[in-house]
């Protein structure tokens, strides 16, 4: 009886392997023909140049729109995650390849607490590569974080 049992086990194993191969094949076919996954746009994270701050922005306008003035919410923390609640924030940016700045002058309009700041007046007036520079002045020091966007 034991040999039979062994035989049964290997059959089950073989069947399992077959199913696994089939599953991988189906997955590969799915990957081949499905559109690429949409970019994870909901939040962008970066660390400021000197490493003083971790900076994230979120926006309800998804994907980040062209020719539509919209808001961002910035979250500023120290590298170990402590919220930076009293920062002076400036926003600048432009298109490095085209040598022009932003079409508006966005700024923080509300300190939402817990290191979160509302930024109004964000606007991009063409598709392509934009660079957004966030100047942060708070207790840890003056530093700048850069977001690169491809719209």
């Amino acid at each position: 009886m034991p040999p039979q049992r062994a035989n049964g086990n290997s059959r089950i194993m073989l069947a399992g392997l077959g199913l696994l191969v089939a599953a991988i094949a189906v997955y590969a076919a799915f990957q081949l023909f499905s559109p690429p996954p949409s970019e994870v746009d909901v939040a962008y994270n970066t660390v400021s140049g000197e490493g003083f701050y971790q900076v994230m922005f979120e926006t309800e306008a998804q994907p980040v729109p062209v020719n539509e003035t919209h808001e961002w919410v910035l979250t500023v923390t120290t590298p170990d995650g402590a919220p930076v609640t009293d920062a002076e924030i400036s926003i600048d940016g432009g298109m490095p390849d085209h040598g022009h700045g932003l079409p508006t002058e966005p700024r923080t309009t509300e300190n939402l607490g817990e290191g979160r700041y509302r930024v109004e007046g964000m606007r991009f007036n063409m598709g392509g590569h934009w660079e957004i520079r966030i100047g942060i002045d708070a207790e840890p020091g003056l530093d700048e974080a850069v977001f690169n966007l491809d719209l």
Partner: protein, 408 residues
């Protein structure tokens, strides 16, 4: 069987690529995406006009339409908005510079899609359609009237229509017949004799005239063009048929437009404009030497008593987004002018903010030679066009022609 699927799929893909290779110039995914971004179907819903409570009021629309064509709204009784904004010519006049009572400094703009504009005028010196409509009414080269006279005119000729939308007209009997803070010496002197309350009452009637006209102008939407039928098919992954099919020349022009001619940098989205201001090195007219464009428009819109943040606006201050976050850097806005829409462009020469350039051929010359700006810095980089490239770009622009006699 499942194991065979990816191989089948790869085989099918290889076959597809081989077929595509037979076509000398299939549109790339990037080109298709750019084409799809320009189709009229991408136009967002008409934006709210928070500074104008009556913007979408049907009675205001009807009243505004009446006023738009009423020559009584002028100093001499012969000029209406339609004098320059001619309905059968895309609401423009085909002249290098608009002519009311006299010639102005700027090209008359077409009106299709003005409800989507962020800024009004070539230099953006007004931030709403209704505030814009007030300027020509008192400009001495345009309607050449004054706000007190307009209030009297409304009271005498349109009181019922006015009051149905805006409520009772103020008592005007004792007010001067001609007075304005902007008019000639006599009008300005008369304005100073009026009390603060009287001036406010007249300003309110004046503002409401603008709000009614703006409500009408918001209804002027851009129409569908051949380009849209082409682009809609491309966006849907279908081959354009019938009049939606482009000739080789038109397709080549479209490719230049979205590609190496760099047109899309400013003329983007379904209205073919980025609603921003650019110095493109357009040479001045003789009388235009001192025209600084947006560099002056910034200060003017901030000082406008009818802007979104001022007394006669219906908006909460927070809703005045354009004005609050306006780019105020005059140095980079020297001789910058608003990007015009290109819908219907081939049917409305001459071109540029003062009609300096006579034909589309000459416009292409300008973008090809990219002359330095007389003031400020031109943003354009010269593009070399072949003869066929020029013809192609113009052929493409003609696919944006407005259709039908009443299509703005």
């Amino acid at each position: 069987m499942p194991v065979a699927r990816p191989f089948l799929a790869i085989g099918a893909l290889a076959g597809f690529l081989a077929l595509s290779a037979c076509d000398p110039a299939p549109l790339s995914a990037d080109e298709k995406a750019k084409i799809a971004s320009l189709v009229i179907d991408e136009l967002a819903a008409l934006p709210a006009a928070p500074a104008n409570l009556y913007a979408d009021n049907p009675q205001a629309v009807a009243f505004g339409k009446l006023l738009f064509f009423d020559q009584g709204l002028s100093g001499d009784g012969h000029i209406s908005c339609a004098t320059c904004h001619m309905p059968d010519r895309q609401f423009q006049d085909g002249l290098p510079r608009g002519v009311g009572v006299a010639q102005t400094d700027r090209r008359t703009m077409p009106l299709a899609g003005v409800g989507w504009n962020v800024w009004q005028f070539w230099d953006g010196r007004r931030d709403s359609l209704w505030a814009q409509a007030l300027v020509p009414l008192e400009d001495r080269r345009e309607h050449a009237g004054n706000r007190t006279a307009y209030a009297h005119f409304i009271s005498a000729n349109h009181s019922k229509a006015y009051e149905a939308v805006f409520g009772p007209l103020p008592e005007l009997e004792r007010m001067p017949s001609d007075a304005s803070p902007l008019g000639g010496a006599a009008e300005r002197a008369a304005w100073t004799t009026m009390s603060v309350a009287e001036r406010d009452a007249v300003n309110r009637v004046f503002a409401n005239i603008g709000k009614a006209i703006a409500a009408f102008e918001r209804t002027l939407e851009p129409g569908e063009t051949r380009f849209d039928r082409f682009a809609r098919a491309i966006a849907a992954g279908e081959a354009p048929t019938g009049d939606a099919a482009f000739s080789d020349l038109e397709l080549e022009g479209l490719r230049l437009f979205i590609g190496k001619a760099n047109c899309l940098e400013c003329h983007n989205g379904p209205r073919f404009t980025d609603d921003h201001f650019h110095n493109t090195g357009v040479p001045p007219m003789a009388a235009d030497e001192l025209d600084r464009g947006r560099a002056v428009g910034i200060g003017e819109v901030l000082a406008d008593p009818f802007n979104c943040l001022e007394t006669y606006s219906d908006a909460q201050p927070g809703a005045c987004t354009a004005l609050r976050f306006m780019k105020r850097d005059t140095a980079v806005m020297e001789r910058a002018y608003k990007t015009p829409s290109l819908r219907g462009v081939a049917q409305r020469s001459p071109y540029m903010h003062a009609g300096q350039i006579a034909s589309l051929d000459d416009v292409i010359d300008h973008y090809s030679t990219a002359p330095d700006a007389v003031a400020g810095q031109s943003e354009i980089r010269g593009v070399i066009f072949t003869d066929r490239g020029r013809k192609a770009l113009i052929a493409f622009l003609k696919t944006l022609d407005a259709e039908g006699p009443n299509d703005p």
